[in-house]
Amino acid sequence: MTPAILALNLGLSFAALVALCLSLNRHHAEIFGTKPSGRRVVLLRVLGWGGLVLCLLVAGEAEGWGFGPVQWVGAVSGAGAGLVLLLSYRPRLVAPAGVAAVGLAMTAGLLLHVA
């Protein structure tokens, strides 16, 4: 069970961090060439913070409220390190990677649901 939950956590937190990252003017401009509009900033931040909270809830529910937060913090740190490196070396891949991370999270979630 645990590897699937970890994949779910990593995918979800990576996607959430991508949303938060794109809500910042500098990184949005790096990737899309323009500053984000006000509405887009709000949307991205809601998605990002919502994703992080959802990730914590999933981790807590799946692993118990002792291990859950530990796993959540680890997943967010790990996903953040990956995102920073990707943003620095291959910025154009950040948005597709965010979408792929959502896909990974959903696959892992589905696996857990089936199992």
Partner: protein, 525 residues
């Protein structure tokens, strides 16, 4: 007022970080490696890779073999410690102390025969683990130095958070193509901020783990100096039993172990036998902790003379003891499955990188103008930086290399491995004194890269059971370990190339204000 507060915090951050930085780096690196301590030990004892694990049903017999050996060789010892065979070390690990001052006895036995095991003498990952909190100097000094460094680290962390004004805005920012000081500041901030919960947790729990060692006075006063009474009342150990003074033989251990194994589902880790030969002899079986955050192993005590069960301890801790057990549990992360363990390891690597970039940043921020000779302080910091940040990885690689290359029959072989570690570190720390600074970084990185490759080569050459020599058959651990070494070699080669390509600090850039300058200046940049 606010501006001044932040300036003083910046000052505190810079200097608290610098004074303990080099030791902290060593603590972080060896601590991070300790997450894989059992695997490192197993790699360093390749003879055991093929040994089948010991079945739980055989443990009572195995324990009796250990006692038979100790009766013959250590009947005068006050306490015997019997490490039971574990998956990562399928051997009996016997340890005994005869009297204070005398060197303790230590031997590894084959659990199937009870004879001394034919395995190379090495400290394995335990050396790196002990170095992490004792620095391989007398424990009293080592623990105090590590503790003081950890306390100052907490100061540096908190003052760093206060100083870092743009935590959210710069959360993902790593501009590696900008001037060196900007890139290093970004790397320092990113590694610090992304793993900040880990850094705070690991530093705080590190101090707490030895809290009763640093501040024994509460226990000394409340328990009249009897720390064992304190540990007993906290439910960490079973009741200590003094010798009675009447001789009595030790009852067979087999039935006791059977009873203990039937009571506790976890794995049996260790036995201690105190006061052998006395009617007050005690046998305590210690089990692995149940899966949970807290570090709460179960202990079962038996009367050594009669074999009767005396008490079962563990699990039911009171709130304060439970709290500290949880904090220690978080620090050592025994509970972590491979995936989570990798994340802990990654956070440890980020912590090491944070300390290293912070140290380099100090020297980058104080580079003099072209025509001025660098001050002695700057030269010293620069040399110590190379000596620790590159010297320690070089020393660890040499430690692994020595494990493979030293002759198997060498007396004190384990000790020689450690001597090789320190000799390599000293040499690696002296070379930068004789080389131009940037050349030293470049050459030493290449050296570490070469040493990591040499470890892989030596592993392949010396281990006949290596999976690559047997078309994939055999212990996968060798592949994992060599893969990690190749990754490290690539990392250091990459670093060396970047250092060589780097055109050097241009004297006309605008990075002449101190790194932690006033906010207005930084905003302009």
């Amino acid at each position: 007022m606010k501006g001044r507060f932040r300036t003083s915090m910046a000052w505190l951050h810079v200097w608290s970080g610098l004074v303990v930085g080099w030791v902290l780096f060593a603590i972080f690196v060896t601590g991070t490696a300790s997450y894989y301590r059992a695997d490192i030990t197993r790699w360093m004892r390749p003879e055991l890779a093929q040994a089948p694990p010991v079945a739980a049903a055989d443990l009572p017999k195995v324990a009796e073999r250990a006692v038979a050996y100790l009766e013959r060789h250590a009947s005068k010892a006050k306490t015997w410690f019997i490490g039971m065979p574990q998956p990562e070390r399928p051997l009996l690990d016997l340890f005994w102390r005869t009297r204070p001052g005398a060197p303790p006895g230590h031997v590894l036995l084959d659990p199937r025969t009870g004879a001394e095991a034919m395995v190379r003498d090495t400290e394995g990952g335990d050396f790196l683990h002990r170095f992490h909190y004792e620095l391989h100097i007398p424990p009293l000094w080592g623990r105090w130095i590590v503790g003081i460094c950890a306390m100052i680290m907490l100061v540096a962390l908190i003052s760093g958070i206060v100083t870092h004004k743009r935590i959210f805005a710069d959360f993902f920012t790593f501009r590696r193509d900008k001037a060196a000081r900007r890139s290093f500041l970004d790397a320092h901030n990113v590694t610090g901020v992304l793993a900040l919960p880990f850094h705070l947790m690991i530093t705080y729990t590190g101090v707490v783990a030895l809290a009763t060692f640093y501040m024994p006075w509460g226990v000394t006063t409340a328990y009249k100096g009897d720390t064992r009474a304190f540990f007993r009342e906290a439910n960490w150990i079973t009741a200590p039993r003094p010798p009675i003074g009447r001789t009595a033989p030790l009852a067979p251990l087999g039935p006791m172990i059977e009873e203990a194994l039937a009571t506790v589902p976890e794995r049996l880790e260790r036995l201690t036998v105190t006061n052998f030969g006395d009617a007050g002899a005690t046998v305590v079986a210690m089990f692995e902790e149940p899966h949970g955050l807290a570090h709460t192993p179960t202990h079962i005590a038996f009367d050594g003379a009669s074999g009767a069960l005396l008490e079962i301890r563990g699990g039911d801790l009171k709130p304060a003891a439970k709290t500290i057990s949880t904090l220690i549990g978080l620090h050592v992360a025994h509970f972590a499955e491979p995936g989570l363990r990798l994340l802990f390891f990654l956070c440890g690597v980020m912590g090491s990188a944070m300390v290293a970039t912070g140290l380099v940043l100090w020297s980058l921020a104080r580079l003099p103008k072209l025509d001025v000779t660098p001050s002695f302080g700057l030269r010293l910091v620069q040399a110590l930086n190379v000596g620790s940040i590159i010297g320690l990885p070089a020393a660890v690689a040499v430690y692994f290399l020595a494990n493979r290359l030293l002759p198997l029959g060498l007396a004190d072989r384990g000790e020689w491995e450690i001597r090789a570690f320190f000799a390599a570190w000293i040499v690696a720390a002296l070379i930068p004194l004789a080389r131009p600074h940037r050349r030293a970084w470049n050459e030493m990185s290449m050296l570490v890269s070469g040493l990591c490759l040499a470890v892989v080569a030596a592993d392949l050459a010396m281990i006949e059971a290596h999976p690559l020599r047997r078309l994939g058959e055999g212990e996968a651990l060798f592949l994992w370990f060599d893969g990690a070494m190749l990754a490290l070699a690539a990392l250091f080669a990459f670093a060396a190339r970047r250092i060589a390509q780097y055109r050097g600090p241009s004297r006309t850039d605008r990075w002449h204000e101190p790194v932690l300058a006033a906010p207005a200046e930084r905003a302009r940049a």
